[in-house]
C-alpha cells in the first residue's frame, strides 16, 4: 500500500509505501528535503502536516517535537509514516522559515478607523487558508480589481483572524478603496506570507522594535507573539509618528506594557502639538538618545524606507551586529 504525499515547497507529490518514512521516500525521489540525524533527534526535518494522518514514530527528541508542536500539527519527516494521503509543508530550509505561499480568499469581518489616516481591517479566511506565517511577515492583498498591495499581519500567527493596518495615502488606490468603499462582508484575496523580518525566537538578548507609522503592525505581531511565548528579555517598542493624531492602539499597548514588566512602549511625534505628552522628535534621534550600545540586541524595523534607513544607520553606529537587523521596508506605489 502506498500513499501520495504532496510536499508544498517542492510543488511535488511523492509516493510513500506504508511502513516507510516521508523523509526516506522524499530523498529517494531526489528531493532536497532538509535532514540531519534521521533519528528524530535534531529537528532539521521538522514539517507541518497540513492534510492527512501520519504515525509520528514513538522515539524522538521531546524538545524538538513538543506536545504543543504536535498539537499544532508538526511532525518529524524522518519518523513520520503516512496513514493516508498527506500534504506536508517544510518548516525551515537553510535555517530560514519557508512557509509556502498560499492564495487565500477572505471576507472582511471588521473595518475600523483607528487614527486620523489609519484603518484596521480584520479578515477571515474562506478558502485556500489558513495562512501559515511567522510573526513579522506580510502578505499581498487585493481589493476589488485593484493591483495587489503589501501589508503586514498585525495579529499573532496562532490567531485565525488576520489583521492589517492600512495607512490612507492621498492618491493611493488601495488605501482610498479601504477608506471609502470597503464594507464588512466584502471579499479580499491575499497571497503570502512573504518577508524575512520575522521573530527569531532563539535570541536571548534585548530586542528593539522600531516602527514608523503603520510599521507598528508587524512589530505588534512580533511583540505579542514574543510575550505569549514567554520570552523574558527586554522588549523596547518604539513608534514614530508625525502628529499625535496618527497614534493608534495607545491604550492597548500601555496595557500590554503594564502586564509584562519586560515590555517598554515609547511613542514619539515629530510634529507635536502643544498638549502632547508623547516624546518629541524624530524616532531615530530619540532612539539615539536612549541607547548607547546595541551590541547584544536584535532589532526589527518596519515602516517607510526613510524611517528604516535612518533607524538602521543609528543602530549600526551604536554597534548593532550585521546579522541582528531585520527589516522589510514598505515600498509604496509612490516610492516605486
Amino acid at each position: 500500500m502506498a500513499y501520495r504525499v504532496r510536499i508544498e515547497q517542492f510543488d511535488r507529490e511523492i509516493s510513500v509505501e506504508s511502513g516507510t518514512t516521508i523523509l526516506s521516500s522524499a530523498l529517494e525521489a531526489g528531493l532536497d528535503y532538509p535532514f540531519m540525524c534521521q533519528q528524530g533527534q535534531c529537528g532539521s526535518c521538522k514539517s507541518l502536516l497540513l492534510e492527512g494522518r501520519v504515525e509520528l514514530g514513538h522515539i524522538y527528541n521531546p524538545m524538538v517535537l513538543t506536545p504543543e508542536a504536535r498539537a499544532r500539527g508538526y511532525i518529524l519527516a524522518c519518523q513520520a509514516q503516512p496513514l493516508s494521503d498527506c500534504v506536508v509543508s517544510i518548516g525551515e530550509m537553510d535555517g530560514l522559515v519557508s512557509h509556502p505561499v498560499r492564495h487565500v480568499d477572505c471576507v472582511v469581518r471588521d473595518r475600523q478607523q483607528v487614527a486620523r489616516d489609519v484603518f484596521a481591517i480584520r479578515l477571515e479566511a474562506r478558502t485556500g487558508g489558513p495562512l501559515i506565517f511567522s510573526a513579522g511577515q506580510y502578505a499581498a492583498l487585493r481589493f476589488g480589481d485593484l493591483p495587489p498591495r503589501d501589508f503586514s499581519m498585525a495579529n499573532r500567527p496562532d490567531d485565525p483572524i488576520l489583521e492589517f493596518h492600512v495607512q490612507h495615502l492621498r492618491g493611493g488606490r488601495a488605501s482610498d478603496y479601504v477608506a471609502s468603499q470597503l464594507q464588512i462582508g466584502d471579499p479580499v484575496s491575499l497571497a503570502g506570507p512573504y518577508g524575512t523580518a520575522y521573530l527569531r525566537e532563539e535570541h536571548l538578548g534585548p530586542i528593539l522594535l522600531a516602527a514608523g507609522g503603520t510599521g507598528l503592525a508587524p512589530l505588534l505581531s512580533i511583540a505579542e507573539t514574543a510575550l505569549a511565548m514567554g520570552l523574558t528579555q527586554r522588549l523596547h517598542l518604539y513608534v514614530g509618528l508625525r502628529s499625535p493624531a496618527d497614534l493608534y492602539y495607545e491604550t492597548r499597548l500601555n496595557a500590554l506594557a503594564a502586564r509584562h514588566r519586560n515590555l517598554r512602549f515609547v511613542a514619539a511625534v515629530s510634529e507635536p502639538d502643544a498638549e502632547t505628552t508623547l516624546r518629541r522628535g524624530n524616532l531615530s534621534d530619540i532612539i539615539a538618545a536612549d541607547f548607547t550600545d546595541f551590541g547584544a540586541f536584535h532589532a526589527y524595523i518596519a515602516g517607510p524606507p526613510a524611517h528604516c534607513a535612518a533607524t538602521e544607520k543609528i543602530l549600526r553606529a551604536r554597534g548593532l551586529p550585521d546579522q541582528a537587523c531585520f527589516a522589510d521596508p514598505f515600498v509604496t506605489a509612490t516610492d516605486r
Binding site: 540525524c37 534521521q38 524538538v64 538578548g205
Partner: protein
C-alpha cells in the same frame, strides 16, 4: 549469593574502569536486575529496562541523599553548603523549579538556536586545529577534545576565553566529586569542593550583577531577566546553573569527542569510510554516543512501589540505569560491540529519554560533529602513540586522562 555477584561481577575493579563492557555483559546475561552491595543500589543493564526507567515519569532524580553520603561522615554539617549548591542544579530536581528553568534552556537549546552557534563553534575548532598544525605529536584529549566544549560553554555564558583553564579545572573537579572515584578520600574531596564553590561565588556574583545592569545576548543575561510565574531566579540559583552548564556541558562532550577519536583507530574500515564520506559524521555522531557514553549511569530514586521481573522496588530505593550496558545490549543492537558509523536506527540511551532528556543534546551533537569531522579532515593519518588509553578512576562516567597521538 555468589562471590561474583557480591562485587557486582567485578564492576569496581581497576580493569573494569578501563574497559567495563565485558563486565556489563556478564551482569546483563546473568543478573540483568542486580543488587549492588557496594553501591547500595539496584543495577539495570538491559536496554529495555533502562529505556523503560528513563521514560518512567514517577522516578525522582533528587540526589540529596546520595550527595550527603559523599561527605565525610563526621563532618556533614560543615559541608552541607556543597549539597545545597548541587540541589540547585535542575539536573537533580523534579519539581516546578526544574520546569521553569528548563523552559528557559529549551529556548536557548532548540536545534535552530544551536544551528546558529555553528559558525562560532566551527571557528573554535579550526583555531585549535591550526594551533596543533605543525606539531608531530600532541594530546588529542588535553590539547583538543577537552578544550572545545569549555570554550563553547564560555561563549554560551558570555565569559572571556581567558578563563578557559580555570573553568575547565572547576568542571573537572566538580564532576570528579559528583561521579566519585572508586575509593574516594572524602575529606579531601569535600574540602576541595567547598573551596571551589567559594571561588565560583567570588567569580560569578559580579558577572551576574553586571548582566543585570547591562543584559547581553548570553545565558547569564537570559537567567537574570527570566521571570516565570512572577518569580525570578536567585543569584545562587544562577550561580549553580552556570556551574551545571560548565560541568555537565563541558565535561561530557569532551569525553565523547576524545573517545570517538580513540575508537575510530580501532575500526580502520569505519575511519576510512568517514574520510571518504565526510557527511557520514551527521549520523556517525549517534554511533559514537552509543558506543562510548560519557555518562555511564543515570541515577533515580523510587517514589512509588513497582515491579520488574518479580523484583519489587520500594520508595527510597536507588536505581542505577546502566547506560553503557544498555547501549551494548544485543537484543536492541545487532553486533553491538562493532562500531558501525552508518547504524540506523540507533536509538541509544546516552542522552536519556522522557522528562530528563539531555537539554544540551543538540549542542552536544554539533560539537561532536564539528570536532571529530574537523579533526579527521585535518589529520587524516593520525595515529595513537599507545593503543590503550587510561581512564579516570570512576565507574559512573568515562573520562580519558590523555590520548597521545602522532599527527601523521
Amino acid at each position: 549469593m555468589t562471590e561474583m555477584s557480591a562485587d557486582s561481577y567485578g564492576l569496581f575493579t581497576a580493569a573494569a574502569v578501563q574497559d567495563p563492557y565485558p563486565y556489563y555483559r556478564q551482569l546483563r546475561e546473568r543478573e540483568p536486575v542486580h543488587w549492588s552491595e557496594q553501591a547500595q543500589a539496584w543495577y539495570f543493564t538491559r536496554y529495555r529496562d533502562v529505556f523503560a526507567l528513563q521514560t518512567r515519569p514517577d522516578l525522582s532524580v533528587d540526589r540529596v541523599e546520595t550527595l550527603y553520603s559523599y561527605l565525610p561522615k563526621a563532618d556533614t554539617d560543615r559541608f552541607s553548603s556543597i549539597v545545597e549548591h548541587y540541589t540547585r542544579w535542575l539536573l537533580y530536581r523534579d519539581d516546578a523549579y526544574h520546569d521553569r528553568l528548563k523552559a528557559l534552556f529549551m529556548r536557548a537549546m532548540t536545534p535552530r538556536a544551536v544551528e546558529l552557534m555553528r559558525p562560532k563553534i566551527e571557528q573554535r575548532v579550526e583555531t585549535l586545529l591550526n594551533e596543533l598544525e605543525g606539531r608531530d605529536q600532541f594530546d588529542a584529549y588535553l590539547d583538543f577534545a577537552a578544550r572545545i566544549p569549555v570554550q563553547v560553554m564560555l561563549d554560551l555564558l558570555g565569559l572571556p576565553l581567558s578563563d578557559e583553564a580555570m573553568m575547565r579545572h572547576w568542571s573537572d573537579r566538580c564532576s570528579n566529586f559528583l561521579f566519585q572515584p572508586v575509593n574516594p578520600d572524602r575529606d579531601a574531596l569535600a574540602e576541595e569542593q567547598r573551596n571551589i564553590l567559594d571561588r565560583q561565588q567570588e567569580y560569578f556574583m559580579p558577572v551576574i550583577e553586571e548582566r543585570r545592569r547591562n543584559p547581553q545576548a548570553d545565558l547569564i543575561s537570559a537567567m537574570v531577566q527570566a521571570e516565570i510565574d512572577g518569580e525570578q531566579l536567585t543569584d545562587l540559583e544562577i550561580l549553580a546553573t552556570c556551574n551545571m552548564i560548565a560541568t555537565a556541558g563541558g565535561g561530557t562532550s569532551r569525553s565523547a569527542i576524545a573517545m570517538a577519536l580513540w575508537r575510530l583507530k580501532q575500526f580502520p574500515d569505519q575511519l576510512a569510510k568517514l574520510k571518504a564520506q565526510p557527511n557520514l559524521i551527521n549520523i556517525a555522531a549517534e554511533e559514537f554516543l552509543r558506543y562510548e557514553a560519557p555518562t555511564q549511569r543515570g541515577i533515580r530514586t523510587v517514589r512509588e512501589e513497582f515491579e520488574i521481573d518479580g523484583f519489587t522496588f520500594r520508595p527510597g530505593d536507588i536505581l542505577h540505569l546502566m547506560i553503557g550496558a544498555a547501549n551494548r545490549d544485543p537484543e536492541q543492537f545487532d553486533d553491538p560491540d562493532a562500531l558501525d558509523l552508518a547504524r540506523n536506527p540507533n536509538r541509544h540511551v546516552t542522552l536519556g529519554h522522557g522528562v530528563h532528556y539531555c537539554l544540551g543534546a543538540s549542542l552536544a551533537r554539533l560539537e561532536l560533529r564539528a570536532a571529530v569531522g574537523g579533526f579527521v579532515r585535518r589529520f587524516p593519518d593520525y595515529r595513537l602513540v599507545r593503543d590503550a588509553i587510561k581512564f579516570m578512576d570512576r565507574t559512573a562516567s568515562r573520562r580519558p586522562t590523555s590520548i597521545a597521538v602522532f599527527a601523521r
